[in-house]
């Protein structure tokens, strides 16, 4: 049963990943798929910057430009940032709480495949008369007027991948509540686990409004309903509300896990307990709560009236307070620590000023009266890239270097890692800092070109050059990944030497059952505590016994694939194609058939017996 030690053929490995329900392998799937979409979204960004590098450029047409910016935003948020964050949650959170897997391994796999097929579906729009072109926010007034099928791809693709995200969130919530190891109280949970917890709660309450918005838009475009058709009594502002009730929590869904990753990094590489642990937990929960009270700050210019604008302005500014608490706690964690500047720590230190800059422009935007000036200019573009790239993407890159050894058993090269960091860091500020000024000077966002002589030329060129640096950074990272995988030098439990939390007490990568015996947690930074007392590993909380594990299954793949097929049918049904209805029916039959199978066929999982676990021990003895 020591599967991780065996060599397998390509076909067997592929089948293994198609049917896996193991959170560590699902994490790798999320990392690969999310990484792929990150590169796709990055290419789209490069096209945008090429088009805008010089005035009156005709690298792409106006219509194609709209498609590119829409797909860039949608891909980066839904198909790159979220799945990459999910990759680390899956890889690390169950280990951090001392669990053998998540609460619903089958649902975990299903969530991945739904996201994956939703994402593929959305991107296939490029090959069928055009991608969506109404912006990533897909405002109904634009979306309803959009010709072709682009917006239909958006609506259907996001519904499929959204369900995947939603069930993933529920799964994490239950895992954290029910599956913590003995002694792992809530106030001993690592900050990354805490942020996974709060993020999952945000997902649970934020995704349904998006789903409803998408369904209404689908009904309008496909079945002739009138939600957004003013002449029939409809109202497009409903879409704006539904979208932003989802949309603002969504930005915290992205950034809270980033905060979590950085909290781990600051403590690890300052070799100090996280400063103000309980206030960090409190701030995370408060941000999550306030995140639902501020959506209308995206709609200051919609005309909700001064009272609504004032309330939402104040609520928005209030979020700055818990965010500030966090910033000070990170700084004070480094204070007096013995700081080690590893690659992850580079990102963490760079994150602080970058993210603060984004927060400051956020508070500026939150002043409703001033926002009439900033709204829909490059100032907003600069703001959200400072928080999303400076916060989320930095965290993803940092997490990639930090957790690579835990996920793959080998370390990324530190020198190359630092080169990536510097290229990306310089490129990022070069691209986006100047955009604040472009916005203040009056350059609107989402325009496909501008005229010479308006004072926008030099700044846009600088911005485009910055994008080159960022691309180089990503290329070095990819090179690093390939070189590391080829060399494949194996590492032990705690390759950084500074691990504090439970995941570093396990082999890299951990065996498929994670913990042979559940560990006894005696405080915050459980593994660090044991190390400080001179122990090699955790004290077990139970005698060696049989372990119950879930069975692998191909059904998650099939369920998601059925919806993918049905979505194609639904899309072409609008053109009255005769084959479309059978395609919908076949797709739904596949999905519901697989769900039916799942529900009538008992799945009790299997047991790993004590004797096999002891053999595993001997295996390792031989290898070492």
């Amino acid at each position: 049963m020591s599967t991780y030690a065996q060599k397998k053929g390509f076909g067997a490995t592929l089948w293994d990943y198609l049917t896996t329900v193991d959170h560590k392998k699902i994490a790798i799937l999320y990392l690969i798929a999310g990484g792929f979409f990150f590169v796709v979204g990055g290419l789209e960004a490069v096209f945008i910057r090429i088009q805008l590098a010089v005035p009156n450029n005709d690298f792409v047409s106006a219509g194609l430009f709209n498609e590119i910016i829409t797909m860039h935003g949608t891909t980066m948020i839904f198909l790159a940032a979220m799945p990459l964050v999910f990759a680390f949650m899956n890889a690390v959170m169950p280990l951090q709480i001392g669990a053998r897997d998540v609460a619903f391994p089958f649902v975990n796999a299903l969530g991945f495949w739904l996201f994956f097929f939703g994402g593929v579906f959305l991107n296939l729009s490029w090959f069928f008369d055009g991608a969506p072109d109404a912006g990533w926010t897909s405002y109904a007034s634009l979306a309803m007027a959009s010709k072709g099928h682009g917006v239909d791809f958006y609506v259907l693709g996001l519904q499929i991948s959204g369900i995947g995200t939603l069930i993933g969130g529920i799964n994490f919530l239950v895992t954290i509540i029910n599956m913590r190891a003995p002694g792992m109280t809530y106030m001993r949970m690592p900050l990354f686990t805490w942020s996974t917890f709060v993020t999952s709660a945000l997902i649970l309450f934020a995704f349904p409004p998006l789903t409803v918005g998408l369904v209404l838009m689908m009904f309008d475009r496909m079945f002739g309903s009138n939600f957004f058709e003013a002449s029939m009594g409809g109202n497009t502002v409903i879409w704006e509300h539904l979208f932003w009730i989802f949309g603002h929590p969504e930005v915290y869904i992205l950034v809270l896990p980033a905060f979590g990753i950085f909290s781990e990094i600051f403590a690890m590489f300052s070799r100090k307990r996280l400063f103000g642990y309980s206030s960090m937990v409190f701030a995370t929960v408060l941000i999550g709560f306030l995140g639902f009270m501020v959506w209308a700050h995206h709609m200051f210019t919609t005309g909700l009236g001064p009272v609504a604008n004032a309330i939402f302005a104040v609520a928005t500014m209030a979020i700055g307070v818990p965010t500030g608490i966090k910033i000070f706690n990170w700084l004070l964690t480094m204070w007096g620590g013995s700081v080690k500047f590893t690659t992850p720590m580079h990102y963490a230190v760079a994150f602080i000023p970058s993210f603060v800059a984004g927060g400051v422009t956020g508070v500026m935007l939150a002043a409703a009266a001033a926002d009439y000036q900033y709204h829909d200019t490059y100032f907003v573009v600069a703001h959200f890239h400072y928080v999303i790239v400076g916060g989320v993407v930095f965290a993803i890159l940092a997490g990639t270097h930090l957790y690579w050894p835990k996920m793959f058993g080998t370390m990324l090269n530190e020198t190359l890692g630092k080169i990536t960091f510097w290229l990306f860091f310089i490129g990022f500020h070069m691209t986006f800092f100047i955009q604040h000024f472009l916005g203040l000077w009056g350059m609107p966002r989402r325009v496909f070109t501008y005229l010479p002589g308006q004072g926008f030329e030099t700044s846009n060129l600088i911005s485009s050059l910055g994008a080159v640096f960022m691309s180089l950074g990503v290329i070095v990272l990819l090179y690093n990944v390939i070189m590391t995988s080829v060399k494949n030098e194996r590492v032990g439990n705690d390759p950084w030497g500074d691990g504090r939390t439970l995941e570093w007490s396990l082999p890299s990568p951990p065996p498929f059952y994670n913990f042979k015996q559940l560990p006894l947690v005696r405080g915050l930074d459980a593994y660090w505590l044991e190390k400080m007392e001179g122990k090699k590993g955790m004290t077990p909380a139970e005698p060696l016994g049989d372990i119950h594990m879930p069975n692998a299954s191909f059904l998650p793949f099939v369920i998601a694939f059925g919806l993918f097929v049905a979505a194609f049918g639904a899309l072409f049904n609008m053109d009255d194609k005769a084959w479309s209805v059978p395609v919908i029916i076949i797709g739904l039959l596949i999905t519901f058939g697989a769900m039916f199978l799942r529900s009538v066929k008992d799945d009790h999982g299997f047991h790993i017996h004590k004797e096999e676990l002891m053999e595993d021990d001997n295996d390792k003895g031989v290898k070492a």
Binding site: I170, F207, V212, F227, S231, I238, S599
Partner: protein, 209 residues
Amino acid sequence: MHAEEKLTYETWPAEPEKSTLEAKNKFLGFWFFLGGETVLFASLFATYLALKDKVPDSTHHLAKDLFELPLTFVATMLLLTSSLTSVYAMYHMKNFNAKKMNLWLVITLLLGAAFLVLEIYEFNHYVHEFHHTFTSSAFGSAFYTLVGFHGGHVAFGLLWITTLIVRNAKRGLDLYNAPKFYVASLYWHFIDVVWVFIFTVVYLMGMVG
């Protein structure tokens, strides 16, 4: 306790829906799922309220012209009663009496089906008597979407509970299927609660204008 173990009336635990880790997970996960569903319906309610009586011109009928109390009252009674009968079913589940549980579940199903029949009749009535359709106005779209989503949930619940009864008809209760029955009954209560809100917000508030 293992889920597959054969139990007797004496060894059957007091809370069979929560006595294995899998069951606890399912129980909690389902509550969270219902939390998400609540937000889903809340969004639909908000949309409905924003679009209530929003019609292109005065030839269209408004809420106060459409709804009739007797019909919706009967529908409400059917659904409320079905919630009660599902409680009886769970009572027998906790007492390890699969036969009686199934009997009460079947009664629940019949009441739910009767509710659906009434709803279909109602929709049909609006379409033919009042030309109030899904596409005739924003009001129509919002009405059929909200009430239809609920109806869809009822239909799914009927299929789900039927499948459960048929699949477990021969083998009786164990700790593997008891939680399944339990969450299905939770779902059924949830549908009922949503209907209470629909009855109030759509029908009662609709009739007062």
